[in-house]
């Protein structure tokens, strides 16, 4: 595999996103920061200072929320494939001398890098001002978090290709289905609310789904509120199951592609 092409794609996308004017970037980051402040205040209202609820202390939940926002770009994985279908520029992508998976993954990573540097890193640094410890529960958790996050990204990308294949197959409104998918997956992944806090034992069931492997698993490992061996095994299992499905579905459906937009 020629990584140079992917690296170039990544850097082009990374610099391209900086073409936004300063006030747009600042506006976006302010809105994201406020969302974290909201969630933090919500947890402080709901959870007692001492003791734990469903195995999570308030400090762990606050760290969970902060890290979820810091790595949100990697926990709500969007390669942009669905938008390429919607806009119709998928045709151009297929002509490029770069593999389709590598191309979209490189673009996605490139898009996340400026956010990571300009928003996530500063948020991590100012966390103590919110009285939150941003560090992992222990060094092992920190190391395993990286592995888990990468597995989560792989699962997310596989999901993206499966979803896009279904869009092509069903030939239905891309926009509506994208919206549904975004709304539902964020809720089911545990990126906003830790799954342990869901009522009626929903969290226990959702833990087994691939959505949870994208966000909840790495966050639980980071905060040491879940069994890392179980969570990582589950992630590996979903990666092994989903990628062949994604590959097969995409290969089958790419021949059925018609332009959805333009």
């Amino acid at each position: 595999m020629n990584l140079k092409k992917h690296w170039k794609t990544m850097s082009v996308v990374a610099t391209d996103s900086l073409h936004d004017q300063g006030f747009v970037l600042i506006g976006n980051y302010t809105l994201r920061l406020l969302r974290v402040v909201f969630l933090i205040s919500l947890w402080r209202t709901l959870l007692p200072e001492e003791g734990d609820i469903s195995g999570m202390t308030r400090d762990a939940v606050l760290t969970y929320t902060l890290i979820a926002e810091i790595f949100s770009g990697f926990m709500s994985v969007r390669t942009g494939l669905d938008e390429a279908l919607w806009r119709g520029d998928i045709a151009n992508r297929l002509l490029r001398p770069v593999g389709i998976y590598g191309q979209f993954i490189a673009e996605m990573l490139g898009d996340r890098i400026p956010n990571l540097i300009l928003f996530s890193l500063p948020l991590f640094c100012i966390a103590p001002f919110f009285d939150i410890n941003p560090l992992p529960a222990n060094p092992t958790s920190g190391g395993l978090f990286i592995v888990s996050l990468l597995l989560g990204v792989l699962i997310g990308v596989a999901f993206d290709f499966i979803f896009a294949s279904l869009l092509v197959f069903l030939e239905q409104s891309v926009y509506a289905l994208m919206q549904i998918r975004d709304a539902v997956s964020v809720l089911l992944s545990g990126a906003i609310i830790p799954l342990a806090f869901l009522p009626w034992g929903l969290g226990d069931a959702l833990t087994w789904l691939p959505f949870a492997s994208v966000a909840s698993a790495p966050l639980r490992i980071y905060t040491n509120t879940g069994d890392p061996i179980f969570l990582l095994s589950l992630q590996v299992a979903w990666t092994i199951v989903l990628w062949p499905i994604a590959h097969a579905l995409w290969n089958f459906n790419r021949e059925r592609l018609v332009s959805h937009g333009g």
Partner: protein, 277 residues
Amino acid sequence: MNTLKKIISRLRVQAYLDFMWMTRDSKLCLINIVSDIILNLAGVAAVFLLATRFEGIGIWSRDQIVFMLGYAALVRGIMDMGFSYNVLHISRRIGRGQMDHVLIQPQPVWMAFLTEGFMPFSGIWAFLTGVGITAWAILQLNLTLTFYWGLLFALHLFTSCIIVLAFSFLWGSLAFWAPLAAEEISSRAVNFMYQLKSFPLDGLGPYVLLSMLTVLPVGFVAWYPARQLLGLETTGIWHTTAVAMILSLVAFVAFKKGMKHYEQTGSQRYLGWGHRN
């Protein structure tokens, strides 16, 4: 009277077009209905699940939270039904140079915006979801519904919608000066409002709370009006209306300034072969 007739006539045309669009394909129709309902429910589900798990949030009981969520869903439903086709997401129109489409029409710009986004058939499902949630909450809370309360409810709902619209137009006006960079800024502003509208703000620090009720008036989309309607807040009954008026005025001035700029520069987004850059 003539203006009102024109508005109604345009709304009727939009309703007809929307009906034709909605009924052209049964699968599309079904997906549209289901997606709107799911989206609106998903927007309030997180807080509902938390309120259920913790039997309320702060001073709010679970059913009071459901009422607030229903109110929030209603606001979204009304915006979906009345201001679609990128009227709410106005920066897209401005940034893409599509203000020209509005300006060449033989009607005032405000009338175009008031009528063009009307989608009473395809856009009503989110609204109905809000009606369902609110009605359920009202039944659970055993609220005494008086005419005065109904009026207050309608007034708050109307002003909450105005606040969302004005907030979007205020941010969206930036697209006059930065068409490419700010093309999606209204969507982000509206998403910000929609994401946070369902959260009770009681636990926020005083400064953040103040900013949520002034600079970024997300508190008036559901939280503050719900407090008023449920009797959790007895003073400041006109606050939502006052904020709606002030914000509308600021948005109006910003939009007017932007239009002046647009009249001089136009849009340079379209390339010679018809694509946007």
